[in-house]
């Protein structure tokens, strides 16, 4: 467990700021092709782990991050200014880039009494699952707010489907010459009375056919053909 001196021993006064790192993957096939935006609620530029965080990044609010003893799949949200600033155009970031699927890392920085960054603690890592741009117009005051909703990596892993089915079609996706599952169709749902003389025409309710497509990969049932 992280030991954070700034909050250890039941401190009664804490100075802290939120630091957000948003990594946008420009090309799904090239994870090195990324654009990184960093911003914070701090009063000045701060460098954490070699990354400089801008105090003018348009950060308005950071949602709660659930803290549990067990690993949880809690979500969080980040609100950004919708007004184009001189150093970043948050509207363009959201609308003009592949913002969904971007990686979000939230770090909390703790300051000493002289307002110098003393410690940091990582709080959240997840991906952007959706965004929302809202306009609030009241009389002559017109403000935009961008909200990025992020899910933790646990949610991402929960929803991930991996592996392949034990039928010929699925098997050949990875290796077209692999014939090791070709006979599965004829064996599927066959009833075998072991020790008893085989009977011609055993009934079957098989729905497995050779026309199974790759879409079966997305089915969560990976136990085998039916």
């Amino acid at each position: 467990m992280d030991n954070i001196p700034a909050v250890a021993n039941n401190k009664t006064a804490i100075n802290s700021a939120e630091f957000i790192k948003l990594t946008i993957y420009n090309d799904y096939n090239n994870t090195a092709n990324v654009t990184i935006h960093t911003f914070s609620s701090a009063y000045s530029y701060e460098t954490i782990d070699g990354t400089q965080y801008s105090p003018m990044g348009g950060l308005l609010a950071v949602g709660i991050q659930q803290r549990d003893i067990r690993v949880t799949s809690a979500d969080t949200s980040i609100s950004l200014s919708g007004i184009p600033a001189t150093d970043s155009n948050n509207m363009a970031i959201v609308l003009g880039t592949k913002i969904r699927g971007s990686k979000i890392e939230i770090t909390r920085g703790f300051y000493n009494n002289n307002f110098v960054l003393a410690n940091v603690a990582h709080r959240f890592t997840g991906i952007v699952t959706s965004y929302n741009i809202s306009e609030e117009r009241k009389n002559l005051v017109d403000n935009f707010t961008i909200t990025l909703n992020a899910s933790s990596y646990k949610t991402v892993l929960q929803n991930r489907v991996a592996g392949r089915k034990t039928n010929g079609t699925s098997w050949k996706v990875f290796n077209p010459t692999d014939t090791s599952m070709d006979n599965v169709y004829s064996l599927a749902d066959k009833h075998f009375d072991f020790g008893v003389k085989p009977t011609e025409g055993a009934t079957t309710a098989s729905t497995a056919t050779a026309t199974n497509t790759q879409t079966n990969l997305t089915n969560t049932n990976t136990r085998g053909p039916r």
């Binding site: 802290s16 700021a17 300051y111 002289n114």
Partner: protein, 229 residues
């Protein structure tokens, strides 16, 4: 003199708000716990205006305020009107030339270190609590939170009212103190004006100048434009 500066020069009440963004909780056994976000802690000044402006004298002011609207910042100072110069008057004992010789060594967090110190007695008070200080060409002033004596070293350290919010390097810059400091403010609530009966003037020939008195819809809420610090 124009716009927001005129408002300061002609006001009849000023309220300074320098409070920070904080969170406070009281536990069941009544122990307070506080947290603070280290923001740029901008100056927030509420300025009250009298309703004695005559319309024919305030037309340029009204146009200037309408042009600034609620978004445009402007430099203001409390030294423009000689009658207001006492508000942020320098309380230390250094002369103007001695103050002009001071330069910034570093400004980290709330600790400002200066050199270029004059040859004066070690007990000379350089700054008193609440003395206003500004880094030259950076109109984002702050105050000294303690009395600062000359001492015997080559540098002095000042604890400032807010951390260093200036983003570019200021090493070697001089400082401005007291009433000469400038504030870079905008007025997000920019009050509107109403013409009320009054202000008539009768000329010697008996003719009457039609006129009105200006009343403002609200106090002027000045907010420091720290985004460009």
């Amino acid at each position: 003199m124009s716009g927001l500066q005129t408002i300061i020069d002609r006001c009849n009440g000023i309220k300074f708000n320098r409070r920070n963004v904080v969170g406070i909780q009281y536990t069941r056994n009544e122990i307070p716990r506080v947290s603070q976000t280290p923001t740029k802690n901008p100056w927030k000044i509420t300025v009250d205006m009298p309703s004695s402006f005559k319309y024919n004298e305030a037309r340029s002011l009204m146009e200037e305020l309408d042009t600034l609207d609620t978004t445009t910042p402007q430099l203001v100072t409390f030294g423009n009107n000689a009658n207001l110069q006492w508000i942020w008057a320098y309380q230390g004992s250094l002369t103007t030339s001695q103050l002009n010789g001071l330069t910034v060594v570093s400004y980290v967090g709330e600790t400002l270190t200066l050199n270029g110190l004059p040859t004066v007695a070690a007990t000379t008070v350089m700054f008193k609590k609440n003395d206003l200080i500004q880094i030259n060409t950076h109109p984002f002033p702050f105050t000294s939170t303690t009395d600062v004596l000359r001492g015997t070293g080559s540098t002095v350290t000042i604890t400032t009212s807010r951390p260093n919010i200036i983003t570019n390097s200021i090493t070697g810059y001089g400082i401005t103190v007291g009433t000469n400091c400038q504030f870079y403010m905008f007025c997000p609530n920019m009050p509107v004006y109403k013409l009320a009966p009054g202000g008539y003037e009768r000329y010697g020939d008996g003719k009457i100048l039609n006129n009105a008195l200006i009343t403002w819809s609200d106090s002027f809420y000045f907010y420091e434009f720290v985004g460009s610090a």
